[in-house]
Structure formats: structure tokens, C-alpha cells
């Protein structure tokens, strides 16, 4: 009886000490971490945030990260949404490059792609601001305008009960942002830059949400292509806090994301 009570008392004391330690060190329980809210609109960064961080490592020729114009007449709505997100990320790249003509060209493509998605009016309202800010070289304002454009399109999609498309817009933007980031780091590797590629929370979010899409959307050819590569992307972006991705791994990741984006931006990819 006595030993059992002692064990119980010791256990209780340990629990109290652990609670005290938590309070003193200001830690948070694993249960709270696991049950934390994760929101598309706040938990997932814009491409502009990673570009801002990379720009701190020196002067970057962002125009070298431009890509040839993509199609804007897809037949699948899922493919349209992924590429709309990609185009918005292209907008951020053009803003970093301070290239007003490129911003205007991308703005036109965004409007073309938005029309069949049923969000053209929302985008049109913003499109003029994008053009005006680009003409006036208001680059900081343009970054905020790009995110606002994306959010208005997403809000319209949500209103139309197209919540799956909202996720795909975010995913397309993140993929294009990752391609630009890894593309630059493949050519100008630095450990400081490579540490920006540690993104376990983001990839986990996409993996989890992709599996909850309506079956028709999950089985869309473009979405299937992305889902098939998520394991590889996740293993590249999930590395310990005290390490960085090595140059060869960055190149491999860039190749992977680049090939994937080419496939999903091809008209009627099968």
C-alpha cells in the first residue's frame, strides 16, 4: 500500500513540477500545437513573403525568374485555379523585378483566366489598380494589391461554393513561388537562402487539404499530377531545424517543381 501511495505522490509531484516548468518557461502543450487553427488566408504566406526574405541576401535579378506566358484557355476549372494562383505569383516576381510592363501583361492574363472561373468582375475591379500602380512604380502598393486581388477572387469562389478552387489558387501560387525561389538558389546557392525552403507546416497543410477536395476535383488530371508529387516535395521541404537543404537537393527540388508546373500549365494536360 505504502509504495503504491509513494509512486502516486511522486507522480503528482512530477505533474505539478512539469506544469510549473511549463508556466515558467512559457511553453505550449503538444495538444495545443496539434489543435491550432490553420487558415488559408493567414497561415499560408504569400509568395511575396519568401521573396522579401530572399532579397535580404543581396541584389537579385528577379527578371531572370520570369517564365514564358502560359495558356489562359483551359477547359478544367481546377487547372484554371492552379494557374490563376501561379499567375499571381508571377505578379509578385514582376513587382520584385520592378518591371511595370511585365506586371501589366500578367494582369491581362489574370483577367483572361478569371473570366471562365466566374470571378472576372472582382478581378477587373482590381485589374485597373494593378495597371495604375505599375505605371506609377508603386511597388509596395502593388504587393498589397496582388494579395487583395487573390483574396477577392477567392472570396467570390467561396461565395459560389467553389471552396476547393480557393485551395488550388493558393497551391498554384505557392508552387510557382517555390519554383522561383529554388530556381534562383540553384544558380546562386547560399545556406542562408536555402534555409527559407524549410516549410513543413505549409506542405503538410496542402497535403491534408488536397485529400479533402471533392472527388471530382481530386481526380482532375492537374490535381492528380500534383498529388502524385507531394511525397517528394514534402521530403525535400521537411528537414531538421538545425540544418539546411544542400545545393544538389535544391536543384533536384527545382527540377521537380519546374517540371510539375510545366505539366499543369499546359493546355488540357492529360
Amino acid at each position: 500500500m505504502f509504495p503504491r501511495s509513494r509512486i502516486l505522490l511522486n507522480g503528482l509531484a512530477l505533474l505539478c513540477l512539469s506544469a510549473l516548468a511549463d508556466a515558467k518557461s512559457g511553453s505550449i502543450s503538444t495538444e495545443e500545437l496539434a489543435s491550432a487553427t490553420v487558415l488559408d488566408s493567414l497561415s499560408i504566406p504569400t509568395p511575396g513573403e519568401s521573396f522579401t526574405a530572399l532579397s535580404k541576401s543581396g541584389k537579385i535579378d528577379w527578371s531572370s525568374r520570369f517564365r514564358p506566358p502560359i495558356a489562359t484557355n483551359y477547359s478544367s476549372r481546377a487547372q484554371m485555379a492552379i494557374n490563376l494562383g501561379g499567375l499571381i505569383a508571377d505578379g509578385y516576381i514582376a513587382v520584385e523585378a520592378r518591371d511595370s510592363q511585365q506586371v501589366k501583361n500578367i494582369g491581362k492574363d489574370i483577367v483572361s483566366l478569371a473570366k471562365p472561373l466566374g470571378v472576372q468582375q472582382e478581378i477587373l475591379n482590381r485589374g485597373k489598380s494593378l495597371t495604375d500602380f505599375a505605371s506609377e512604380g508603386k511597388w509596395d502598393a502593388l504587393k498589397e494589391e496582388l494579395e487583395a486581388t487573390q483574396n477577392e477572387a477567392k472570396a467570390a469562389m467561396a461565395e459560389n461554393k467553389d471552396t476547393g478552387l480557393v485551395l488550388l489558387v493558393t497551391l498554384g501560387g505557392w508552387l510557382r513561388g517555390t519554383e522561383a525561389l529554388t530556381g534562383y538558389l540553384s544558380e546562386h546557392y547560399s545556406a542562408e537562402g536555402a534555409r527559407l525552403l524549410r516549410q513543413p507546416g505549409i506542405i503538410h497543410f496542402f497535403r491534408e487539404r488536397l485529400e479533402t477536395l471533392p472527388e471530382k476535383m481530386r481526380e482532375d488530371s492537374s490535381v492528380k499530377k500534383i498529388r502524385a508529387k507531394m511525397d517528394e516535395i514534402e521530403s525535400a521541404l521537411t528537414f531538421p531545424r538545425d540544418s539546411v537543404l544542400q545545393a544538389e537537393s535544391v536543384k533536384a527540388l527545382n527540377q521537380l517543381v519546374s517540371d510539375l508546373l510545366k505539366q499543369v500549365s499546359r493546355k488540357d494536360s492529360k
Binding site: G26, E32, A36, T37, L42, E49, A53, E144, R198
Partner: protein, 143 residues
């Protein structure tokens, strides 16, 4: 220019909130958060367009995951209304350890600023320490 943009954003957001049927309390909490974040915009911080809102009960906390980049500086701004007598905001890394932050605290609004040393998920815990149940709105800015 920045002040104009923030003002325009406030007007647009207020209009959007009204059309979306949000309560006066929620609108006020959002405005309070935006007012607070406006001060950081003057210092070159770019405001994210997204937000997290809801209701905070006194003595309870809520946690949101955000994914941040090493080297960027961040300010998280929490707005509520007069029903909140005192708010708290803490930031934790993905192992659950507290991150040291600069706190800017007023009665029913609070902001936490920091520069993460490691890219990845961070957790923002918000809490109403005293007062009545209150609407809240959390936004963030970065540079």
C-alpha cells in the same frame, strides 16, 4: 502614400465586413487591429490582407499556426473591443517553446513583434485575461 493605402484598406474592409453581415463588435475589433498595424506600416511593414477573427472568452486562449521565413521581421496585431479589459499574446516555435517578442500593449489591443531565426511554423496564442467575452481580429505585417 502608406497612410492613404491603410485608410483605403480600412474603408474597403469595413465596407466588405458590413456587406458580409459581420457584427459591429467584429468590425470594431478589425478596425482596432488595422489601426495598430498602421503604425508598423509607417515603418515599412507590409500588411497581409488575411485575418483571423472570432470570439474570445475570458480565461481561455486560442492558437493559430503561421508559417514564417527566417530573416523577415513580423508584427502580429490583435484587436478587440472595450469588453476586453486585458489581452495577452505569446508566440511559440514548433517545439512549443516560447519565442521572445517585443510587446506593444494597450487595453483592448496588443501586438507582438519578432524576427524568427528559423523558417517554419510558429504558433500565436491569444488570450483574454480579464473582461467579458469579446470579438477579436488578428492580422500581421512583415518586412
Amino acid at each position: 502614400m502608406r497612410a492613404f493605402l491603410i485608410l483605403s484598406l480600412c474603408v474597403c474592409i469595413t465596407a466588405a465586413l458590413l456587406t458580409a453581415g459581420e457584427s459591429d463588435e467584429e468590425t470594431y475589433a478589425r478596425k482596432t487591429a488595422l489601426d495598430l498595424a498602421g503604425a508598423f506600416s509607417n515603418d515599412g511593414f507590409k500588411l497581409r490582407d488575411g485575418h483571423w477573427s472570432g470570439t474570445l472568452e475570458p480565461g481561455t486562449s486560442k492558437v493559430i499556426q503561421v508559417n514564417l521565413f527566417a530573416g523577415n521581421s513580423y508584427w502580429f496585431s490583435l484587436g478587440s473591443n472595450a469588453k476586453a479589459k486585458r489581452l495577452a499574446m505569446n508566440v511559440y516555435d514548433e517545439t512549443g517553446q516560447a519565442i521572445a517578442v517585443d510587446l506593444h500593449e494597450e487595453r483592448h489591443r496588443i501586438a507582438a513583434g519578432f524576427t524568427p531565426g528559423i523558417s517554419g511554423p510558429c504558433y500565436i496564442r491569444i488570450e483574454a485575461i480579464e473582461g467579458q467575452p469579446t470579438a477579436f481580429c488578428l492580422i500581421y505585417s512583415y518586412k
